[in-house]
């Protein structure tokens, strides 16, 4: 803090210098060099160098070894479980998160404020707490698990449990991306549709839904990305059986505990690459839908 004080008083020279160099527009506000320099250094040390280290470690394996780890049946199963469950959970969140956003924005009902506030719970509640709470609820003797068990439905310690935990984790991403777009939606557009003879369902599907598409895609990709890497809430409710209900992050932990760092690094790198490619595709679809349906968010 003291450094800030002494440095910033001498800094008004730096915008002038950077103007000649044309890296930044000149400004009378001081502190550009100090704040950007500090932020970049901190970012590089904490985030960029360690992440690059993961890439280097995976690259140092050599292609053959990397391919052997990537195609190992246990790795493939774990990746399928992680990405498959994340996909199902994100799709479920499109339906239920969209519904929740709609109900919270469009209708007034007792307790609306409280339900609106509670949507953020998964952001604030530690994943381990969510994990043990969900598994206690859905276990064979739990409040929900017991009645479901009588119907012959098992959720805890099955792949369905993984999806349930990922729905919990992803829900606020969907609701909080769709909600602001719905709030700013001009109801006049709906009136026009109604005047032109559309019934309510036609208006919702043909007028409102297309405008929400970019926001829904954003919410979907955020929920999906979060769910793919999720660990804490899942391991308590999944039975963690290899080839069945073992998620990729858990396999990384197991490989690290076996001191098999190369395998752990390779699985981590594969996860990052797949997630990156999927988000890239979603971003492209989103850019297309923005052009097609207008800027919805």
């Amino acid at each position: 803090m003291a450094a800030f004080l002494t440095r910033s008083t001498s800094l008004p020279i730096s915008p002038g210098r950077s103007h000649r160099w044309s890296f930044a527009k000149p400004s009378v506000v001081p502190g550009f060099g100090l704040t950007l320099g500090y932020a970049t250094t901190y970012l590089t040390l904490i985030v960029l160098i360690p992440l690059a280290g993961l890439g280097l470690k995976a690259a140092s394996l050599g292609w053959e070894e990397f391919w052997r780890i990537a195609t190992d049946p246990r790795t493939v199963h774990a990746l399928e479980t992680s990405f498959g469950s994340a996909l199902i959970a994100a799709l479920a969140n499109v339906v239920f998160g969209g519904l929740v956003a709609w109900v919270l924005v469009r209708y007034n009902f007792p307790g609306r404020r409280i339900f609106d506030a509670i949507v953020d719970l998964p952001f604030a509640l530690p994943t381990a707490v969510a994990g043990i709470a969900l598994s206690a609820l859905y276990a064979p003797h739990g409040w929900i698990g017991a009645p479901l068990g009588q119907l012959g439905i098992k959720i805890a310690y099955t792949p369905a449990g993984i999806v349930l935990a990922l729905i919990f984790i992803g829900l606020p991403f969907m609701v909080r991306t769709v909600q602001p777009v719905l709030e700013e939606f001009e109801t006049e557009v709906e009136e026009v549709a109604a005047t032109l003879g559309a019934n309510r369902l036609q208006t919702i599907l043909g007028v409102i839904l297309p405008r929400l598409t970019p926001a829904i895609l954003t919410g979907f990709s955020l929920a999906f990305a979060r769910a793919v890497g999720e660990y804490g809430s899942v391991i308590f409710i999944a039975a963690n059986i290899p080839y069945k209900s073992e998620i990729a992050p858990l396999l990384i932990v197991i490989r690290l505990e076996e001191f098999n760092q190369p395998a752990a690094a390779a699985i981590g790198a594969i996860m990052l690459v797949i997630a990156f490619v999927m988000l890239l595709v979603i971003n492209l679809v989103q850019a297309w839908s923005r052009r097609r349906f207008g800027d919805g968010s």
Binding site: G31, L43, I132, E230, M271
Partner: protein, 299 residues
Amino acid sequence: MAVDPSAGSALAAAPRRKLAAGRSVPTSERPAVKWTLIGIAVLFLAVILLLPLVAVFTQAFAKGPAVFLKALSDRDGVAAIKLTLLVAAIAVPLNLVFGVAAAWAVAKFEFKGKAFFTTLIDLPFSVSPVISGMIYVLLFGANSALSPWLKTQNLQIVFAVPGIVLATIFVTFPFVARELIPLMQDQGSGDEEAAISLGANGWQAFWYVTLPNIRWGLLYGVLLCNARAMGEFGAVSVISGHIRGVTNTMPLQIEILYNQYNFAGAFAMASLLALLALVTLVCKTVLELRFGVAASRRH
């Protein structure tokens, strides 16, 4: 082209008469549909979000207050609580300083590569917590290139507190910056320019002009950062080594108790973190309602 105003009002009155007769207006759903949708949404939120929260507190006191207190007051429990507080006390201020610096640079200046810089700040959000912990194990662990040097310096990072702090900083990295950047961009730099043209130095402009403008957003970012810092499980789990009483944070202690079938103890520890989450949510709601802090849509 003059339009008879009475014709317009007659048209507008038509749907209202319909409404009065109990029929639906074309721009809203029928009451039956509306209440069904509300019912489904409320039931979904209650089962998915509310019930787990209720379960944490009821399970915590299921075996009575004595078991509850014992889980929190035994040696390992106290050590876990202390470590969690210590880690948050280091990680949150560091990310706070970074967040303010990054937001100042992004919001007050135009420079090349700004979009790229902001994207990089968000990067830790899209990395799995387990990978966040692993990158430091690879960098500072027993087989790393840095390992011989760390040994000569007698520095232990992996399976020790510094590693836990690093992993926590990584996962909570974007919170404050994410909250401040849009807020400070909306405010522009006109106020600061005025202060500086009136003779204030940069530090005075920040302290007396910028900080009062951003304090609620800043507080909100710190709250979220703190909640995540105290509750982080995956990243910390990978790097801590689970040494009881030494490198166990509260979430890791929950896992140990749970795996020992000490459910009441696990839920007692969990209830403290759930309480923290509730306080965070209440503060967030109050900040939004009273000060109009824009809710962050990305975490």
